[in-house]
């Protein structure tokens, strides 16, 4: 086969593939293919080529697929293709390494400059490369670095201002999760986390109280909390606390109870012989010291009550059996606390 013949065959084949070949050109291509000595034995190939070229001239025929199919059948390349495929699958050819080597060789200056820009070179390499660059190039790179920093800062500021709270919910729906709070596959990990947290978070009663107190003591509190003044409260606030308590209707029976208790106490003292006990050892109470639950029925009587200067006290018991309240107003501030 001559070179001219092959060139003409190639040109005609390209025109056929591009859908630009005329009827005459197709006929000429078939004629050349039949005359080509290397294609003489490839009957299947020439047959498929003929069928492809006989299709409508306005459309690009599927010549490539037909020819490749014929080649696989007739030309014996299948064995070569199989060998190539097996080599690639076994991995004896380190294609990645070769490709990267070729890239590094081909892109050496750009890659190194990029590494210099990103601060990925060690000091010696940085100095060596910088000496090869012009001053203007270094200044340009400095400007780019500054621009990159400004861009990162601006992006960070924008991102921090965006509320991403609901993003996961939207993403979860898109990836097909019905419940965003339940991610499949995390149950075993969640169980372990739950168990570990339960063990670590269990506090003794004393620790719990101490923790509560510590937290409360650490919380800032506004010292100037005041009630919204109303006409009624304003008029009450003008009076001393003991007058306000004395004006309560329930104070009279309570005072009577207290006085009665004091009177009873005198009787008790008179009846009881004076016994001088010697403190030799502590009589431990029968019940251990543990958290006391406030009883549903309480009984407390006040026998005696003495107050410091400016201190006022009101005694209050909401109902029979309720704990008795001694309401103290320390009197060191104008505003009553109770």
């Amino acid at each position: 086969m001559s070179t001219d013949t092959m060139d003409l065959l190639d040109v005609l084949l390209m025109r056929v593939l591009d859908g630009e070949a005329t009827h005459d050109e197709r006929a000429k291509l078939l004629k050349l293919a039949d005359a080509e000595p290397r294609l003489v034995e490839m009957k299947e190939l020439r047959s498929r080529l003929r069928e492809a070229l006989s299709e409508r001239a306005s459309e690009a025929p599927e010549v490539v697929a037909e020819v490749l199919a014929a080649l696989v059948i007739d030309d014996g390349w299948a064995e070569t293709a199989d060998l190539l495929r097996s080599e690639l699958e076994v991995g004896s050819i380190d294609m990645v390494e070769q490709v990267m080597d070729s890239l590094e060789v081909g892109c050496e200056p750009a890659v190194r400059i990029s590494a210099l820009h990103d601060g990925e070179l060690d000091p010696a390499e940085r100095i060596e490369l910088a000496q090869t660059l012009s001053r203007s190039a270094i200044m340009d790179m400095t400007d780019w670095a500054d621009n990159g920093r400004h861009l990162r800062e601006a992006l960070s500021a924008e991102v921090s201002a965006v509320d991403l709270t609901d993003i996961w919910g939207l993403v979860a729906v898109r990836v097909g999760l019905t419940n965003p709070e339940e991610v499949p596959g995390w149950e075993p990990i969640a169980d372990e986390l739950r168990e570990a947290l339960r063990e670590a978070a269990t506090l003794t009663a004393q620790d719990e109280v101490a923790l509560t107190a510590a937290v409360m003591n650490s919380l800032p509190r506004d010292e100037s909390i005041e009630d919204e003044p109303t006409e009624v409260s304003a008029s009450l606030d003008e009076q001393p606390a003991w007058i306000r308590w004395a004006s309560k209707p329930w104070i009279i029976p309570i005072i009577l109870v207290a006085l009665f208790a004091i009177y009873q106490n005198r009787d008790l003292k008179e009846e009881q012989p004076e016994v001088q006990e010697t403190v030799a050892a502590v009589e431990e109470p029968s019940s251990p010291i543990e958290a006391f639950v406030i009883a549903s029925h309480n009984q407390v009587l006040i026998e005696d009550l003495a107050l410091g200067d400016e201190v006022t006290v009101a005694v209050f018991q909401a109902e029979d059996g309720a704990p008795l309240f001694l309401l103290i107003d320390e009197g060191d501030e104008e505003e009553a606390t109770l």
């Binding site: 006990e277 030799a280 502590v282 109470p285 010291i289 909401a318 704990p323 001694l326």
Partner: protein, 164 residues
Amino acid sequence: MNGLLPLLAALTLGVGTPADVGPTTMISQQPKGNKVKAKAKAPAVNVQLMVVHASEGEAYVDPQLERLEKHLQFLRYDNYRVLDVHRSPVVKGKTTTFAIEGGRKVSIDLLEKNKEEVRLRVQMFKDGKKLVDTTVRVKRGSTFVVAGPKHKGGILLLPITANY
């Protein structure tokens, strides 16, 4: 010569068999001539003093105050948190003092005790100044509340329970 007679008597009484050592050991260790009753143990009760901070704000009542909650309605506060819980035996003849928030101290003395009730003397001090001095008769297991000391925008409630 007069001093030798008591010494001889003491030596004679002091010699005994190991079986003699027992309930009377404490007595034999006491100084001679001191008449001390064998069961001279000081009465004691267990006292619990809770420190509760009452303030205005979000409505909250500490779970430890569940029994007390309905009795807090008359106070103007709506946030009650337990800051601390003190528990200690209070022995007759020995003052037990609890340090509470705001530089205050509460001292409790056991005056009397019987099967049903105790008499306690409760005193509150602030910066060395006595605010309140009261004597109360407390039924066994009963609680009374000393309330009112100012603390961080609110007041302190001190539920005191005596049990034994």
